[in-house]
């Protein structure tokens, strides 16, 4: 499944890097602690988080993640959006909670790294 299809299925708002949405998603990871993300998330994963500061872009870029879903209507910092656009990291936002988003991703067949 690609990010583009996920955006449609979950009604996510695409905030950056619309050109990268055809990337195939290899799995998912959810956490707000960046060190956990660094340790566990795999290349091509979609990362679900509440964090919206610019460092999430560095994390996603270092790990070659497919994209970041920011939940609960949290507004990413303008600097985050700028960096993400520059580095080609799709940022998707939603008013849904992390729990709901992860549930929906699971139902669509996106698997966690330990599955």
């Amino acid at each position: 499944m690609t990010l583009e299809e996920l955006c449609c299925q979950l009604s996510l708002e695409v905030r950056t890097a619309a050109r990268k949405l055809r990337m195939e998603v290899t799995g998912g990871y959810a956490a707000d602690l960046l060190s956990c993300v660094m340790a566990k998330a795999q290349a091509g994963n979609v990362w679900v988080t509440l964090q919206g500061h610019p460092n999430i872009v560095a994390v996603a870029s270092l790990l070659n993640l497919a994209g970041i879903i920011i939940t609960e209507g949290m507004a990413p910092d303008p600097a985050t959006l700028e960096k993400a656009e520059e580095q080609g990291i799709p940022i998707l936002t939603t008013p849904l909670t992390t729990f709901t988003v992860v549930g929906k991703l699971s139902a669509l067949g996106i698997k966690g790294v330990d599955q």
Partner: protein, 307 residues
């Protein structure tokens, strides 16, 4: 991992204005179909925008000409046979939009207008293919040169022990630029031809070391990556406050980060644990609580490294 291709990406990066034909041959509504035939033949084109008083009023193609020929209406004017009010594209739109338009409308060409609505060019599928190929060729060439220059450094420059040292100054509390040094180290390793697994381990170790300098030091520090043909070593050195108990610091979950830093998602006490998982060797020193030095070694060549 299935990845988006460079062509798919380029389709969104390239603008229509960069690939379209600029010198457009135009006709007027009063041009006869016979004159149109001559114009198409002379310029080897398959269609032309129709202009009246500097305004785009229609488009006419070789298909229209063939129909007129079959109906014996070569005396008719372009104004009678053209498609009026043609669908246009804008020069500042990505080429991807043009690709969608060709698929959706089935036309062979679209007039391209600038942001004031004035005719700026014309685009065909051929223009898109040519534009993409040209861009790919240039990029391929550039990357090839870059990759060559870098990947041969250890062969081209000979010494008994050649190493490449990358130094980065990391400022305390500079969360805005956090991760930049490690991103640069990651890119350097990729260009040098390191495997994705090695790049991932080095990137994680460098990132956590960089974050430790940002979160915990008084005055920042230095992140140094030394690349040798058989190993990568990453050193993070700072001038204090130092770690009173390095063993305790190594415990997963142990953290001295203040609340506001934890709220940003940092300071979970997992940094050193993460580094250890990525490292073949790891040394953490902080004598007398004055300064801290962390050295991480990742082997590229198992045999050399284990010596």
């Amino acid at each position: 991992m299935p990845e988006i291709t460079r062509v798919q990406e380029l389709v969104y990066e390239l603008k229509i204005g960069e690939v379209m034909t600029r010198n457009v041959i135009t006709v007027t509504p009063r041009t006869s179909m016979a004159e149109l035939r001559e114009a198409l033949r002379e310029h080897r084109i398959s269609g032309a925008p129709v202009m009246q008083n500097g305004e785009l009023v229609g488009i006419i193609s070789v298909e229209d000409l063939i129909k007129a020929l079959a109906a014996g209406e070569m005396g008719a004017t372009v104004g009678e046979k053209m498609t009026p009010n043609p669908v246009t594209l804008r020069a500042d739109e990505p080429v991807g939009i043009a690709v969608d338009y060709f698929a959706r409308y089935g036309y062979g060409r679209f007039p391209v207008v600038d942001n004031k609505g004035k005719l700026a060019g014309i685009i065909t599928r051929g223009d898109i293919i040519q534009g993409l190929l040209k861009k790919l060729e240039v990029e391929y060439h550039e990357e090839e040169i870059r990759h060559y220059r870098v990947s041969h450094i250890f062969e081209d420059i000979v010494s008994d022990r050649t190493s490449l040292i990358l130094r980065y100054d990391v400022m305390a509390r500079d969360f805005d630029h956090a991760g930049e040094a490690s991103s640069k180290i990651k890119r350097a390793l990729s260009r040098l031809g390191a495997s994705p697994q090695i790049v991932r381990r080095a990137a994680i170790a460098a990132y956590e070391a960089e974050m430790n300098i940002i979160i915990h030091t008084n005055e920042g520090g230095e992140l140094v990556a030394e690349i040798q043909p058989w190993q990568i070593s990453i050193r993070a050195v700072d001038t204090g406050p130092g770690i009173p108990d390095t063993e305790q610091a190594m415990q997963p979950g142990f953290s001295t980060a203040p609340e506001w830093i934890r709220e940003l998602g940092f300071g979970a006490g997992m940094g050193l644990t993460n580094i250890q998982k990525c490292a073949d060797e790891m040394r953490l020193e902080s004598p007398g609580g004055k300064w801290t030095s962390l050295e991480v070694v990742i082997y590229l060549d198992r045999r050399r490294g284990e010596k």
